[in-house]
């Protein structure tokens, strides 16, 4: 039996993250983020990336990382999710770094991962189809060899943290297969910030029109298939799921606090059994989703790519549904104030809706699981 009890170190990391973010990304700062609509807190980012090494966690020690497991990373991402913290943490640590590890050459990894681990740069991935459960299956970016380098063309309509990122990883179609390119800040591409319903996470459009890149901007050796990136896609999904679980925890805590003090008909709302049962059911679902996230994270190192991806999809399906319902119930149980701008539940609802579409909605992940289960013999352990 796998031991799922968190170690003392893991607990400490989780607590420190929660404490820091309570201090630096509390409700007031959240409001500032929404008002400023930048979706990025540069000072906080420096603290977590440079001083606390949040992006270094899963990076190997030989690349300047801490060589920890996905569990530690999941815990800090979950903490960031609780506060809807405006950080390019998921993009950098759960998307860009794992994609580099999966498909880049050792040389490219050795060049870039240490900068990520040290918190020198934020990075992101320009997934071709951000809404697809297989976000590499179709990409609108093409690359053509030219003069010893490449010419890139295409518009990626939504890139998470595009403006905060110092480095954008761009999967592009070659004549055959996919290649991965690095766009460093100032490489000549254009990003344009997009106004979003979920103002707590930055999205930008990335446009490349005949963008000329040198040969060393290409990070892979001989092209790669979407399947080769399976573990990176699994990590990216697991990261989103952790974030969603954190956000669900936080919005449910808002609900519990409100129903615990709001009096109606001479009783606190929390004393109404229907309210109690609805909160309790959400807690059951939260425990389920959280167990799935942390279980998949703990199992990651031992598992094959297929199982990693299946478990990450399971985590996403559970967490997407959970967060939406938790936010919806929070607004409902807040009553009249629930749909005012002044109270926070709507920020979680907007996050819930926006994030549910990233890297595939719950039903798409379930369909991918079904494809696996129903195409071959059921997976037993």
């Amino acid at each position: 039996m796998m031991d799922l009890q968190l170690t003392d170190d893991q607990r400490l990391i989780r607590q420190q993250a929660a404490r820091l973010l309570a201090d630096r990304a509390g409700p007031q700062q959240l409001r500032q983020t929404v008002a400023a609509a930048t979706g990025f807190d540069a000072a906080l980012w420096r603290t977590v990336a440079r001083q606390l090494g949040w992006c270094a966690m899963t990076i190997a020690e030989r690349h300047g990382g801490l060589g920890l497991s996905l569990t530690e990373l999941s815990l800090v991402v979950e903490a960031a999710g609780e506060r809807l913290a405006p950080l390019p943490l998921w993009s950098t640590a759960c998307a860009a770094a794992p994609l580099l590890s999966a498909v880049a050459t050792e040389e490219a990894r050795a060049a870039i991962l240490p900068r990520i681990a040290a918190g020198e740069i934020a990075a992101t991935v320009a997934w071709g189809d951000l809404g697809a459960a297989d976000p590499l299956a179709a990409t609108p970016v093409t690359a053509v060899p030219a003069n010893g380098g490449y010419l890139l063309d295409g518009l990626v309509t939504q890139v998470v943290d595009a403006e905060a990122a110092d480095l954008v990883l761009v999967p592009a179609r070659l004549a055959q297969g996919l290649a991965l390119f690095a766009l460093e800040r100032g490489a000549g591409h254009e990003t344009r910030q997009i106004e979003t319903l979920d103002a707590t996470r930055q999205i930008g459009a990335l446009e490349m029109r005949g963008l000329r890149l040198s040969a060393d901007a290409r990070l892979d050796a001989d092209g790669f298939t979407p399947r080769a990136a399976a573990s990176a896609i699994a990590t990216a999904n697991l990261g989103l799921a952790a974030e969603q679980v954190g956000a669900a925890r936080a919005v449910m805590d808002l609900t519990l606090a409100y129903v615990g003090e709001r009096v109606q008909f001479g009783r606190v709302i929390a004393s109404f059994q229907a309210v109690k049962h609805r909160c309790a059911r959400l807690e059951v679902d939260l425990a389920e989703a959280r167990a799935m996230v942390l279980g998949a994270a703990a199992n990651f190192a031992n598992a094959e790519d297929d199982e990693r991806l299946l478990e990450a999809r399971a985590a996403r399906a559970l967490a997407s549904d959970l967060l939406f319902r938790a936010a919806e119930e929070s607004i409902q149980l807040h009553g009249g104030v629930g749909f005012t701008w002044e109270y926070d539940p709507h920020l979680y609802l907007k996050r819930a809706q926006a994030v549910s579409a990233l890297l595939g909605s719950a039903d798409r992940h379930l369909e991918a699981i079904a494809e696996h289960l129903l195409a071959e013999a059921c997976h037993e352990r």
Partner: protein, 394 residues
């Protein structure tokens, strides 16, 4: 009435609207509905006067007060044609649908003379002062105080109302207040009419999750209701207030359903365009929404019949819960059909409409009696299950 007469009425409404909801009123199409209630206020007030000119305000009122005395079925037909044409949200609907009928039933002749013509003419607008910050869904818990000024017989009001729809665009407010010191619950309440443009009243908009502010808090600090502007007598407030709620007969619901159908239609269109129509799961939800809407139509027709059977009663009691949850779910469905595009705010009008739907429909299950209150009512009044005990009585 015969189907022919109804068809003629529909034709008349369509013709009138196609002629008048045009030109300078063209920008009003589809605007001003839930979530967009503070859009284009001046033009919408002019539109009310345009409607009045055509005889289309208060069509259900008796001829004596300038109405057409339309039957329920005729009013429904009017509402449906209005919605089909994209008629804008009605700033006059609280006057026409709530306080007007209340004054016709309970008002003094002087009150009727003073207020009804201006409502009918689209020149005075009303808002509703029921909810309070501490009362929430619990109307009997009203704390706003009214004290009689002996010299004048006027009533001076202190307190706060919330969720007052369109107060900032209105001229008058009706207020349920506590006139008897120390009274609790349904006793000792008074129903007052107050002009909003006076010292002692402050209106503060409540910003909603969609960014708009069609609701307000209204603060009363010694605001004055004139002696002759009490409806019923002091102490009868509860009776008047609940009777007023009874005038909300749901005639507008069939018109509301036309708007729902248009929203669902838009969702279908976008699904066909963006490929969401290929998702089996979204197909199921779209079909379920269609079934729910069709059933809602039949439910509303049933609820409008004065059917005293157990089924009829339960259908009426459950209607608000049904439509509000249906609409809220449609909002989520709309966003899921949009997919990642739903998160992009770029002014595309169709996406804007669906995003407003998503956000504002969150209020549908809360205002006018939360879903929880509705379920209590269904269980207690419909199914005869035991009443929820009040904490302060036990």
């Amino acid at each position: 009435m015969s189907d022919d007469r109804l068809a003629a009425l529909r034709a008349e409404v369509r013709a009138w609207l196609s002629e008048h909801l045009a030109g300078r009123f063209e920008p009003l199409r589809w605007r001003g509905h839930a979530g967009d209630g503070d859009a284009l206020p001046e033009l919408r007030k002019e539109w009310e006067r345009e409607l009045a000119g055509g005889g289309w305000t208060c069509p259900g009122w008796p001829a004596e007060w300038g109405g057409r005395g339309l039957s329920v079925a005729e009013q429904v037909a009017f509402q449906e044609e209005y919605a089909r044409a994209g008629g804008p949200g009605r700033i006059g609907h609280i006057g026409e649908g709530l306080i007007g009928p209340t004054l016709i039933e309970f008002g003094t002749p002087a009150q009727q003379q003073r207020f009804l013509p201006a409502i009918r003419a689209g020149t005075e607008f009303w808002c509703q002062g029921y909810s309070e910050p501490q009362a929430g869904s619990d109307l009997a818990n009203v704390r706003t105080r009214a004290r009689r000024e002996d010299a004048t017989g006027d009533w001076l009001v202190h307190g706060q109302k919330v969720w007052t729809s369109l107060a900032h665009l209105s001229d008058w407010i009706f207020v349920l207040a506590r006139s008897e010191e120390g009274s609790t619950g349904r006793h000792g309440l008074i129903f007052l009419l107050l002009a909003l443009d006076q010292p002692g009243i402050e209106i503060r908009p409540i910003r909603q999750i969609g960014g708009g502010a069609e609701f307000n808090s209204v603060f009363f600090d010694g605001a004055r209701a004139r002696a002759e502007h009490v409806v019923g007598a002091a102490g009868e407030g509860w009776r008047i207030a609940t009777a007023l709620l009874g005038f909300e007969r749901g005639i507008s619901t069939l018109g509301q359903q036309m708007a729902f159908a248009q929203e669902l239609d838009l969702v279908c269109r976008i699904a066909r365009e963006n490929g969401a129509a290929r998702s089996p799961e979204l197909r199921q939800r779209i079909a379920r929404a269609w079934a729910g809407l069709r059933a809602m139509r039949y439910l509303a027709m049933r609820a409008l019949c004065d059917d005293a059977s157990r089924e009829g009663r339960l259908a009426r009691l459950g209607y608000k819960y049904h439509w509000s949850n249906w609409h809220r779910d449609l909002g989520r469905l709309a966003m899921d059909v949009l997919g990642p595009d739903g998160n992009v705010v770029d002014g595309d009008p169709r996406r804007e409409r669906l995003r407003r739907l998503f956000l504002f429909s969150r209020a549908d299950t809360i205002y006018g009696g939360t879903s929880e209150i509705q379920l209590n009512l269904i269980a207690e009044q419909g199914l005869g299950m035991p009443r929820e005990p009040r904490g302060d009585r036990s």
